[in-house]
Symmetry: C2
């Protein structure tokens, strides 16, 4: 079997980015509209994972995020097992929004659901609908957020027949304001604490789908442990907000945070300034990612440059807080590693155990 | 040509509603999660057009809304004229969110864009992308909101190739809190002021598309005035927030508001309690809606029960504020009519000039 890469898998970032940059510039120019309302934005939040407005007593953060194509994996795996998995991908969808909004120091407060189906008949499958609702509610309860409402359009001709586009918007409060983490505190010597992922989360799914097309048993293929490939992909994304809230209660305010999603470990250097991120310890790689890397014949650069490879979230904390951060994570049932250190130097991620370096140019998420 | 109705046009509300009710009940049960954060929701906002949380000094409102299938009209009309119309449907998309959030008395503050395309190549059409960005920015500026960010996923296999799913989320502040309009002020004798729509807005579009399929010239058909059917459909939705903000500056606080979208004039009785809404004056019907009604052989019940028929938004105000409301609207360039009165009585909309009554049972938007 030949190699598979991202362009073959249908995601071509070089084509998305020009519009994204145009949109970011237009969006930034609308900031002045807030003055009418006696409000100001935190300009530094543009380009970060959530938008932040100063409301006087606290900051208000907001975000809208999409699941991507993981529903297609659920649909295909259901053909094999009869389970819908929509409870699990509901959690994935909320995780996309919640794990992003917490990066700025926000407590997620409320969410809206956006479920756009290919036609009214999508909603007629009672088991799938019940699972979607139950999983969405469970994830809200896990993160102590209120599910404020949502939109369930039937978009025949826009969304493919029998399919659904799942997205979530989230509002959060940064309160007290000292919890804000837009990156101005990041410093030489800070520890990089990586939090375990539960599996693929929702990034690299196009690649996994392409692989399934090539495997004789598709999503029914077996991992070495005996787990089914499709089911292993559908292990829901870890929700990190219970941990960031617990850290706040323990008095640990990260200096910066990065949600490890698209672009894999290149996201470790998400901060706008130039820092060198030196990694000395690697987290365990979930079996499903090991399988994906092996079967697609990806090298370490491709694997760590696109997949989370066991690290779902990065906390950059004062070196004195590192051990405590790992402890609090353990209390929340999340494995964590003191994996590296932030150093003065050019923008790069140096993964020493792999002799692998991502240069600053390898990440293009800002205008 | 035979009659066309909503089920033929692909929107079957009887199939969407059971999930919607299940979701609403699960969502309501998550309200208790706010207590952890020292917040409370306004339970009365559930079932209204935006969700409202009490933040102490002010209320925080939020909403996520979808354009629906109007992008398909833009795509088809572009084939005829070469214009993309994405600047216009950008405004429609924002109007869906903004015209909803203002119903609770909120000042819209910031929005996120959600543009989910069928593949990366969608974003490669520079004219269309530029128009989409420009129209989005212009609508933000018109409503004095900040465009905080967004998501531009490429969802091959979920969204149809060459298509895009446009949605918007919006955050608003109700400040001072006395601007809250969740309906507790609605009273016998209140005036019903209807605000002019600019055309079809974004509801009834499936019906219009179905009609275009049947017309020999499709979207290229001509209205009596000579306007092209497709272009007339694409006149962007009126943004009503400049008017609701102007009313607040003039000291007019509506007792209740209803955005006239799906379910047409049945939305006039959106309020949760039983009131009779007696309409004595009809707004002018935009030519494109006259054409749609005539060509689909819809009767008045179908037309007013599904389309805005010239009324894009309903303000329920103290009778003493009615004339002033119309005046302020005129200053904002929006035609308005003192169209009727709220009366004690069973839930119904009585449209006297048409001898037409919608009973309370005709509207099912609540759990």
């Amino acid at each position: 079997m030949s190699r598979l890469d991202y362009k073959q898998a249908g995601v071509d970032y070089s084509k998305i980015d020009p519009l994204k940059i145009q949109a970011q510039q237009a969006a930034a120019s609308t900031a002045r509209n807030l003055a009418v309302h006696g409000l100001t934005e935190l300009a530094a939040s543009r380009g970060e994972s959530a938008y932040v407005v100063d409301c006087g007593d606290f900051y208000l953060a907001s975000i809208t995020e999409c699941l991507g194509t993981k529903a297609l994996v659920a649909d295909a795996t259901r053909q094999l097992t009869g389970k819908t998995y929509y409870d699990q991908i509901a959690q994935d969808t909320l995780a996309m929004a919640i794990n992003d909004i917490i990066t700025v120091g926000a407590t997620p407060v409320s969410v809206h659901a956006y479920w756009a189906a290919g036609g009214s008949e999508w909603f007629h499958d009672a088991q799938r609908a019940t699972d979607l609702v139950a999983g969405w509610k469970r994830a809200c309860d896990l993160c102590s957020v209120s599910w404020g409402g949502g939109e369930t359009p039937a978009l025949s001709g826009v969304v493919e027949g029998g399919r659904i586009d799942l997205a979530a918007s989230c509002i959060g409060l940064v309160r007290p304001k000292s919890r804000l983490t837009l990156g101005d505190r990041l410093a030489h010597g800070d520890a990089i604490v990586l939090l375990a992922s539960s599996g693929i989360h929702a990034n690299g799914v196009s690649l996994a789908r392409k692989l399934a097309e090539r495997l004789p048993e598709g999503f029914g293929a077996r991992l070495p442990s005996g787990a089914m490939f499709g089911e292993a992909l559908l292990v829901p994304t870890t929700l990190y907000s219970p941990l960031t809230e617990a850290l706040a209660r323990h008095g640990v305010v990260p200096h910066y945070c990065a949600n490890i999603t698209g672009h894999g470990w290149r996201k470790v250097m998400r901060h706008s300034a130039d820092w060198t991120y030196r990694i000395h310890t690697l987290p365990e790689v979930p079996e499903v990612l090991q399988f994906l890397v092996k079967q697609t014949q990806s090298d370490a650069r491709e694997a760590y440059g696109n997949l989370n490879m066991g690290a779902g979230f990065a906390l950059f904390v004062d070196a004195h807080d590192a051990a405590r951060t790992v402890e609090v994570a353990a209390q929340q049932g999340i494995k964590a590693w003191i994996a590296g250190v932030v150093e003065k130097g050019k923008k790069q991620v140096v993964i020493e155990p792999l002799s692998l370096t991502f240069a600053g140019d390898d990440l293009h998420v800002r205008a």
